[in-house]
Symmetry: C2
Subunit: 287 residues, 2 copies
């Protein structure tokens, strides 16, 4: 009998939950508002218990998180600081629980069923309200000391061309401070999705994302960079990022993947809006 995996995408505004044997065989799905830990985790447990059998559970969570303890740690989200998310679910269901960052879960989902099939080294970065990245090196998820915080790298910032000081409360003009959704809105006075495709916002946005892609490529040497999240829904953005990344690297990384096939090197996710919850299922499958 095929194993039943549950995936929980634990986000700051909602928890997406699904269970089944894989993306083509989902037996149940639900979307729960993120309210208090007791209420939301209680509702997740109720959803999971409503089904005859769950063999393993994967949780891809907003952070910062502690992978060893299964806790959400120093989040600014009211009420969620020091929440024992993985433990509460493990105790209630009494099955193995895998716990990782939301971006590592999405990376694993793309590896199992999406844009990173057959790759051993790649990164998945989400560009939305926040910017975060996960990925694989040598076929294993990247964790290290804590977990990557790829959105907080520092980049060249031409203050004359772009006087916006950046919106990150920790770093000001790190990548997230310059290029997340709220930064776009604050800089231009309009929500990102209302800016026309030929607005100068997109070239500048692509510049910061391309500088970041170049830095990640130089540091990790990934076989592919997957850029997801709400901001990447603007279809005009991806080609600009591809082109500028190649220009910034300027032929230094000697690889046809970059010099000749940049459109396959920097891509958007194949699992779309379901990347998170399917990735969480992949975490469970991976146990």
């Amino acid at each position: 009998m095929a194993k039943i995996f549950a995936g929980i995408e634990a986000g700051g505004t909602k928890f997406n939950c699904a269970l089944g044997t894989g993306p083509d065989d989902l037996r149940a799905e639900t979307r729960l508002a993120t309210t208090t830990p007791d209420e939301t985790i209680g509702a997740v447990i109720e959803f999971l218990r409503a089904h005859a059998r769950v063999d393993a559970i994967g949780i891809g969570s907003f952070g910062p998180i502690d992978l060893r303890t299964g806790f959400i740690t120093t989040t600014p989200k009211p009420g969620w600081r020091n929440t024992d998310l993985a433990g509460a679910i493990r105790r209630a269901l009494n099955v193995p629980v895998a716990f990782d960052t939301d971006v590592n879960a999405a990376a694993l989902g793309e590896h199992a069923w999406g844009a990173a099939r057959d790759l051993t080294d790649f990164i998945y970065v989400t560009i939305g309200t926040g910017i975060g990245g996960g990925g694989m090196v040598n076929g294993k998820l990247l964790h290290g000391l804590v977990h990557p915080e790829m959105g907080h790298i520092r980049l060249p910032h031409d203050w004359q061309a772009d006087p916006f000081p950046g919106s990150c409360p920790f770093h000001g003009d790190c990548l997230e401070g310059l290029a997340n959704g709220p930064a776009l809105e604050k800089r231009w006075g309009h929500r990102a999705e209302t800016l026309p495709p030929d607005h100068p916002a997109w070239k500048l946005q692509a510049r910061y994302l391309a500088l970041a892609c170049a830095n990640w490529a130089c540091t990790l040497s990934p076989q592919r960079i997957i850029l997801g999240g709400g901001v990447m829904m603007q279809a005009q953005l991806l080609p600009l990022v591809q082109q500028q990344t190649r220009e910034i690297l300027n032929g230094y990384l000697q690889s046809p993947e970059i010099s000749e096939r940049i459109a396959e090197y920097i891509v958007v996710p194949q699992l779309g809006a379901r990347a998170g919850v399917l990735g969480a299922m992949a975490l469970a499958k991976n146990l």
Copy 2:
């Protein structure tokens, strides 16, 4: 009988060779000038053949290199473009040959016998004539698509405070362009080792290295960052880099390793000038 490993540190000015069972039992060592591939590789083979037995050979090479083919590829070093380094040595000695970047070899040496013992995730970066980095993720050397080129990341560059345009022929003011040995000399008009410890050069140098350490920490989440190479021989530099890295990260990466023990987080190599050749021996041992 203990296995005999040979290590070859293939550098642009010299090839350091050693063989033995480990760092405390070196049976022979030699240092050969890097002239032409025929002459230098011939001398390496002669050195290796002069000994009764070699069980495996490790080569840590200057680059760029192709790990799959064992070639040095597009180096600007005259005569060395497209040189079959690993193959020539393998055919001559007929034993297994491991081939990797000089920095991955040094990283492996520090893992076997130096500052990275017991770690699974760390990076080793050399700051000298060039800047390059290697390291481990999940206990395995980092390779990816080609190999990391950590020296070529882009950083904030305050042109008013530092009008030096950078010396990298590919990128201008990437990290290597701003902070390698030649950049120091060009910016200040004196060789790095002649600048007094309280010269403003060192604070600026530490700023660029700290921005890079912060970016690497955010991207890879290493358990430790080892900074080697000639420029790091200036003892006043390391504490400045440690302090500024902590300031730049500003408490965001929640880890006592960074917030409380930065002096153990960013360190210099323990194997010193022998890191390269011992690392190459570690490559052979690792086969």
